[in-house]
């Protein structure tokens, strides 16, 4: 049943994005520059992991092979992950982490707003819940991008460098393939390409307030959301994230 497969792929894309980014952000726990930022990052990670439970929970339900969200998170290998490359990129410095968060939050907030009117009631319910949290994430990452971009010479230079480093990974969020076409034709999810104009408006406004310059290049690195080729970073992340349930199968609290 091709449509169910496409739906499953779509749900994995949503859930793997939040899972991988949630894990990345949680790597800051106890290491952020100041306590308030540590708490903010931990809370953002928590929201993303919570959203992952809903997306991967639904993915497991649709798959109906008796698996749980945890099975999908912890027992799949790199090539089965469907997150965009952007979210698996390393944290770098605090500026790079915030820039990655902002570039993702902007896409995420537009995506969830569209998904609130999904023809699938379960998808609409998750989007409704998650979009409240993501609106808040975007407000914070956007404010911080402006604060640091339009900050000191040092912070400005670091934010510009972060933008240039991450920019090639933005395009993948708007790539469309057969899965997207199937989702769009059933009214389950928007064609990502149709969100690009809104995205450019949104980030253009904030990056300009941050006195940052958008790189010219439109070249996009791809291969995450279709699982064709992840970066080397994802495997390292998974060894950290998955070792416990793999070393001790069935372990519980």
């Amino acid at each position: 049943m091709a449509d169910r497969d496409a739906f499953q792929q779509f749900l994995l894309r949503m859930g793997d994005n939040t899972l991988v980014l949630g894990h990345r952000v949680s790597e800051w726990c106890g290491h952020a520059p100041v306590l308030e930022e540590d708490i903010a990052l931990a809370n953002t990670a928590l929201d993303l992991i919570g959203q992952t439970q809903m997306w991967l929970g639904l993915a497991a339900e649709v798959q109906s092979e008796g698996k749980s969200a945890d099975d999908l998170a912890f027992l799949r290998d790199v090539w089965d992950f469907r997150n965009v490359l952007l979210v698996e990129m390393p944290n770098g410095d605090f500026g790079q982490t915030i820039m990655r968060q902002f570039l993702f939050d902007a896409w995420h907030s537009i995506m969830l707003t569209r998904l609130r009117s999904s023809s699938d009631a379960r998808v609409a319910a998750i989007a409704e819940k998650a979009s409240k949290e993501v609106t808040y994430h975007l407000e914070r990452s956007g404010d911080t991008v402006v604060g640091l971009g339009d900050g000191t010479e040092e912070s400005h230079q670091r934010m510009q460098a972060a933008l240039e480093y991450l920019w090639p990974y933005v395009g993948e969020m708007f790539a469309s393939d057969a899965v997207d076409a199937a989702m769009a034709s059933e009214g389950i999810a928007p064609d990502p390409a149709s969100m690009r104009a809104d995205y450019d408006d949104l980030i253009g406004r904030i990056l300009s307030a941050a006195t940052l310059t958008l790189p010219d290049a439109r070249f996009a690195r791809k291969g995450g959301r279709d699982g064709r080729m992840h970066t080397e970073h994802l495997g390292h992340l998974l060894t950290q994230m998955q070792w416990l349930p793999r070393a001790y199968p069935g372990a519980s609290w």
């Binding site: 308030e36 903010a40 928590l46 929201d47 919570g50 809903m54 009631a121 819940k129 808040y136």
Partner: protein
């Protein structure tokens, strides 16, 4: 034992404290969405505050323990995510208790009305996130005390 009325069950639940902000009950928090009998089974529908809030599973356990202590034998706890929880569902009593406890209640304007300690309206945001997912960190510029603000969502 005769089947307790749903009103009775609501009263019992109103005595179950929120594990992270124990001055308010799970009913004050607005997360108990429905209480109903289906034959001999009591169904309690709960909605999470934030999707990743670690208190959610503790709350479910506390509700179950409280109802079992009151003699409810057959209990089903349902989780419902739609409609999504909103701070509009906080009870008036809950808002008052939050403020007395030193947490500024949610305000649609996007920030606390005044300092819960001295009442001054001169307040400033320290951080958008606080000690739990539902709170932000603010400070009073008159009495200089920091305080939690219950985020409005």
């Amino acid at each position: 034992m005769a089947q307790p009325s749903t009103d009775q069950v609501w009263d019992w639940l109103d005595a179950v404290p929120d594990p992270e902000i124990p001055v308010i009950s799970v009913v004050d928090l607005g997360i108990v969405r429905d209480v109903a009998w289906a034959g001999d089974t009591l169904t309690v529908t709960v909605t999470p505050t934030y999707s990743g809030c670690p208190a959610t599973s503790v709350i479910a356990m506390d509700i179950e323990t409280a109802l079992r202590d009151h003699g409810v034998r057959q209990l089903e706890l349902k989780t419902q995510i739609a409609p999504a929880w909103t701070t509009d569902w906080l009870s008036t009593k809950g808002r008052k208790k939050l403020e007395e406890y030193g947490i500024a209640p949610p305000n649609p304007a996007g920030g606390p009305k005044h300092c819960p300690r001295c009442g001054s309206a001169s307040v400033e945001k320290v951080s958008q996130f606080g000690s739990t997912p539902c709170k932000a960190h603010w400070r009073c510029t008159d009495c200089l005390e920091p305080f939690d603000y219950f985020k409005c969502i």
